[in-house]
Symmetry: C2
Subunit: 311 residues, 2 copies
C-alpha cells in the first residue's frame, strides 16, 4: 500500500471542498499531515482485495471513485480529533507532535473547522457518487452519528467507560471500531455494485475486532513510560481489575482477525494490519520492562499472536 499516494489524494480532495482563502489554512492544519492514514489505508486495501487489484494502480488517480471514500473517512476522523482536543472535551494541547488546532489558532476556529470538516466528509461521499452511494451514506451516518461514534464519545466523557469491562468494550466499539468498520465496509461496497450480506457481516465483525484491539493495544503501549500521569493511572484499563478481561478480549479479537483475513483471502488488508501490528510489537518488546512493572501482564501470547499475523 503506497501511503504517500493515499496522503496525496487526501490533500487533493481536501482542496476541492474548502475555500481558497481565509479559513482554509485552519482546515489544512487540522487534517494534514494525516499521520499513518490507517483508516484510508483500510478502505483502499479492502477495495483492492475484493477487486483483485493487487497492484493498487487505482491509487494513482485521485478521481478513482473509491479514493474519495478513503479521504472522506480521514477527513471525518480529523474533525473528531479537532473537537476531542478542545478544552471542554479532552483538553489536549498537542496532537501528532504539534500544537492542537485550538492552540495554534483559537477555540472558535478549531470548533468551526471541525464542523466544516464533518460536512466536508459528506461532500466527499457525494463526490464519490458511485456504486451503492445510498447504502454507504446510510451506514456512514449511522455508524458515526448519535447511535455510534458520538455515543462512544458520550460514554467516554461521562466516565461510563470506567464502570466495568462491558462499558469499556462498548465505548471502544462505538468510539473507535465504528469508524474502522466504516472504512472496511466502504472499501467492500465500492468494489462491486452488488453486495453480499454474509461478507458484509464478516467484515463488520472484522472491523469490530480491529477497532477494539486497536484501542486496547493503544492503552497498553501507554504503559511503556517509566512514570505515568495521574490521568493515565486513573483510566488505563490495564491497571485495573479489568486487566485479565482486557487480555482475554485482545487474544480473542486477534484470533478472529486472523481467521477472517485468512478465510476471506484479504492479502492487501493483511499487509496493512501486519504493518500496524509490527509497529505495536516493536513498542511492546522495547517497553516490556516498564509495562510489566506497571501491570502484571503476560505479554508473550499477545506478541506471539501479533507475530503470527505479521508473517
Amino acid at each position: 500500500m503506497n501511503v504517500a499516494q493515499i496522503i496525496r489524494n487526501i490533500e487533493t480532495h481536501l482542496e476541492l471542498v474548502i475555500p481558497k482563502h481565509n479559513f482554509s489554512e485552519v482546515y489544512r492544519y487540522g487534517v494534514l499531515p494525516p499521520g499513518k492514514a490507517f483508516r484510508p489505508q483500510l478502505v483502499s486495501a479492502i477495495y483492492a482485495d475484493y477487486c483483485n487489484e493487487s497492484d493498487h494502480k487505482f491509487l494513482e488517480d485521485p478521481k478513482t471513485p473509491v479514493n474519495y471514500l478513503a479521504s472522506a473517512v480521514e477527513v471525518h476522523h480529523a474533525y473528531t480529533l479537532l473537537h476531542d482536543d478542545l478544552p471542554s472535551m479532552d483538553d489536549d494541547d498537542t496532537r501528532r507532535g504539534k500544537p492542537a488546532t485550538h492552540i495554534k489558532f483559537n477555540e472558535w476556529k478549531a470548533l468551526l473547522a471541525g464542523d466544516g470538516l464533518q460536512t466536508a466528509s459528506f461532500a466527499l461521499l457525494a463526490k464519490y457518487g458511485h456504486k451503492n452511494l445510498g447504502l454507504i451514506l446510510k451506514f456512514f451516518s449511522w455508524a458515526l452519528g448519535p447511535k455510534g461514534l458520538i455515543q462512544g464519545q458520550y460514554l467516554d466523557l461521562s466516565e461510563e467507560m470506567t464502570k466495568g469491562i462491558d462499558e469499556l468494550i462498548l465505548t471502544h466499539q462505538y468510539k473507535t471500531a465504528r469508524l474502522i468498520q466504516t472504512s472496511i465496509l466502504l472499501g467492500y461496497w465500492s468494489s462491486s455494485a452488488t453486495t453480499d450480506y454474509r461478507t458484509s457481516k464478516q467484515l463488520f465483525r472484522l472491523g469490530h475486532s480491529v477497532g477494539v484491539v486497536f484501542q486496547l493495544l493503544d492503552d497498553l503501549t501507554e504503559l511503556v513510560d517509566e512514570q505515568l500521569s495521574q490521568h493515565e493511572l486513573a483510566v488505563n484499563p490495564w491497571l485495573t481489575a479489568n486487566k485479565d478481561l482486557c487480555f482475554k478480549e485482545i487474544i480473542s479479537d486477534l484470533e478472529k482477525i486472523e481467521n477472517i483475513i485468512t478465510s476471506e483471502e484479504l492479502a492487501s488488508t493483511k499487509k496493512v494490519l501486519a504493518n500496524y501490528f509490527k509497529k505495536i510489537e516493536g513498542l511492546l518488546v522495547e517497553g516490556k520492562t516498564n509495562i510489566t512493572k506497571h501491570s502484571e501482564i503476560d505479554l508473550v501470547p499477545v506478541i506471539s499472536l501479533l507475530n503470527r499475523i505479521n508473517r
Copy 2:
C-alpha cells in the same frame, strides 16, 4: 401548511436517529420545540407546489420521503444553533426563550450533541433514499459546508462582515441564505425524478433573496426596543453608513421574491412567506417609533412591499 404536523414529523424522525437512553435528552432539548419551523415549511411548500399537492396530505405520514428532508434541514439548523451559542462562539445563554443547551446541561454535552445532530441530519437524508439523492447530498454538503454556511460563520465571527455592505451581504448569503436555498431546492428536487436547470436556478435565486431579506429584516426588528445593547449598537447594519444600501437590498430582494413566486405560481410557498412577512410587518408597525428614533429609515415602502406579498 400544517406546522403542527411538520413538528410532529420532526419529533418522530429525531427518535429514529438518536439512542433510546442516556444522551438522548440533550438531542431532544436542542431540537424541540423547533420554533416556527420556517425551513421545513419551505421544503414542504415547494414540494407541494411542484407536485400540485395543495391539500398537503403528504404531511400526514412521517414516512413520505420528502418529510425526511424537511426534518433533515431542521435538525441541521438545530446543530448550528447549539454550536453558535457556545462560549467560544456567540456566548448566548438563552435560545428560544429557554436556557441554551450548554447552560441547561454543560459545554461538552452541547458541543457533542451538536456534532451528533449534524451527522443525524445526513442520516435523515439517507432515510429519504429517494429521487435525486446524489444531487441532494451534493448540494446539501456543499451549501452547508466549508464553502457555504461555515464560511458565513467564519465571516461573522472574524468580524469581516462589519467591513462593508458587500461583506455583510456575503455573510448573510453564506450563513443564512444557503440553508434556505437548500430547503427550497430539496423540496423541488424531491418533487420529480427529473430536474429542470432553469427552474433550479430560479429557485436558487429565490432562496438567496429570502435568506438575505430574512436576515436584514431580523436585524431591523432588533431596533424595536427603546434601549439597545452595546453589542447591537456596534454591529446592527441599520445603524451604520450602510443603512441606505441595506434598504436598497431589501427592496430589490422583496421585488425578486414577488416576481419568482408569481412566475413559478408558488401558491403554498407564497402562503409560508406571507405568514412570515405578516409577523414581521406587525413587529415593524408596532415598533415604528423606536425604530425611526434609532435609524432614519423610511419604513413605508418596506411595509408596503411586505403587504403586497401578504395579499
